[in-house]
Symmetry: C2
Subunit: 243 residues, 2 copies
DNA sequence: TGCGGAAACTTCACGCCGTATAGTTTTCGC
DNA sequence: GCGAAAACTATACGGCGTGAAGTTTCCGCA
């Protein structure tokens, strides 16, 4: 996850001031992520960022109205990076091998989380002291992308999974319209029960990964890899697929 | 969850000073939990607790060496309360109805989490700014109790679940000896694959509940109840049981 | 009964934090 | 070349955890 890299050459199209501003904004976020990587999410303080950058803490207020705004921006970017990672794994997998596609997606998800534990905490945990998530913005977009990604898993397997996961009397208005606005056009064959299956699969993967990232799993098992693999084998089997 | 209630009568056996001390300790914890309930885990500050109790922040240092120690004590107590809740549900369920027992346990888990979201975050999330979990103590004990509880679920169902969950080449040394020290004597018939099943079930339940508690699920579905119920139905089915 | 010492608690202090206000320097557009 | 806007600094406030030192209260023992 290399975010906010310096531009190699200045673009002449936009003004110099504007460009500097964008670069500084990127540097602030880059520094924040760097601090988070070395000292956890709590290390994201305006003063520490400013110290690192050789400025005053208040200078950051020219770029972010508040610390929460900065955190929000970070969450958006990190969440987008996660969505990119799993989308890429999905796109790179063979389209005619559902079981492998699902494994590729799930492993991309877990690998990203283990490689960016602070990012995972930032997205799915209590991000930072006193932070209140705003409504709207890019983070819900990325969240939706991840959900749509899981819906793709469910859709790929739905032909064989319908037999065992088809009931549960789910209805379209059990789900958020915004989610359905993305899912239904993309996967017209997926019924409400399929979306429910997707959310449940999300829960399964999230649970195992969250327990691992937060250290609860390592206290019980010495081989979380094996456990995750078993989980996937079982998931694929339960979807009526063969690996 | 009513923790730290005042003693109805003073016990004569211990000295007055000692008793007062225990009461004050309980009051500190009670106040901390109360603050957490009204303002989230971030509201647990020594100064706020002291303010609430009409003392100085530094007076608390007579009872807890550091803020993290206080948080650790809270985690232990809250985790124990969770373990008590699920254990009670398990004990109260009919012993000859595995499917119902599992449902009872799982619902107790989710209900407790939804009723004590801050407690859940305290246990399973980033508890509080900058908090570092110590090694050892009562929290791992409670964690183990929960794990043993899930192992009980797996054990109850193992007769029918073995057919579909029996493989995966797990070994005893894939697991923490401390966990096995509790699990193996309690459930002698449960093989390594059964313990792995238990941990995976833990992951499933944890994932769904965590997504719900942290608000990620509500952004996608309007009926998490239904989703959780479908999850249990599917779990029970996958264990080879009938509800 | 009185006294020594421990325990409980307060006061003051330090350095951290987010952030508001006001002032200063730099830079762009005309 | 100049006026305005943008970028940044200085100073300040209140809140945080925590350390050191001082004060009061109370228990156990002679």
């Amino acid at each position: 996850m290399t975010l906010y890299s310096e531009p190699v050459a200045a673009t002449r199209s936009t003004g110099r001031r504007e460009r500097l501003r964008a670069e500084t904004t990127a540097e602030i976020k880059r520094t924040a992520l760097q601090l988070m990587g070395s000292g956890g999410p709590d290390a994201i303080t305006l003063r520490a960022i400013a110290r690192e950058m050789g400025m005053t803490a208040n200078a950051i207020y020219g770029y972010f109205a508040t610390r929460d705004d900065l955190v929000t921006a970070l969450i958006e970017d990190v969440y987008t990076a996660l969505a990119d990672a799993v989308d890429a794994a999905w796109a790179a997998s063979a389209k005619d091998a559902p079981a492998q596609r699902i494994q590729a997606w799930a492993h991309a998800f877990r690998d990203w989380a283990l490689a960016n534990p602070e990012g995972f905490r930032l997205i799915y945990g209590d991000p930072v002291p006193g932070y209140q998530a705003p409504t709207g913005g890019a983070a819900p977009d990325a969240a939706r992308r991840v959900c749509v990604g899981i819906a793709a898993l469910a859709d790929t397997a739905w032909g064989s999974a319908e037999r065992s996961h088809g009931d549960g009397d789910f209805d379209w208005d059990d789900f958020d319209p915004g989610l359905l606005g993305k899912v239904r056009p993309a996967f017209p064959a997926l019924p409400p029960a399929g979306v429910a299956l997707a959310l449940r699969m999300w829960g399964h993967l999230h649970g195992l990964v969250a327990l691992e990232v937060y250290g609860h799993l390592r206290a019980q098992t010495l081989s979380p890899d094996k456990l995750f693999h078993a989980e996937l084998v079982q998931l694929i089997r339960s979807l009526g697929l063969v690996a």
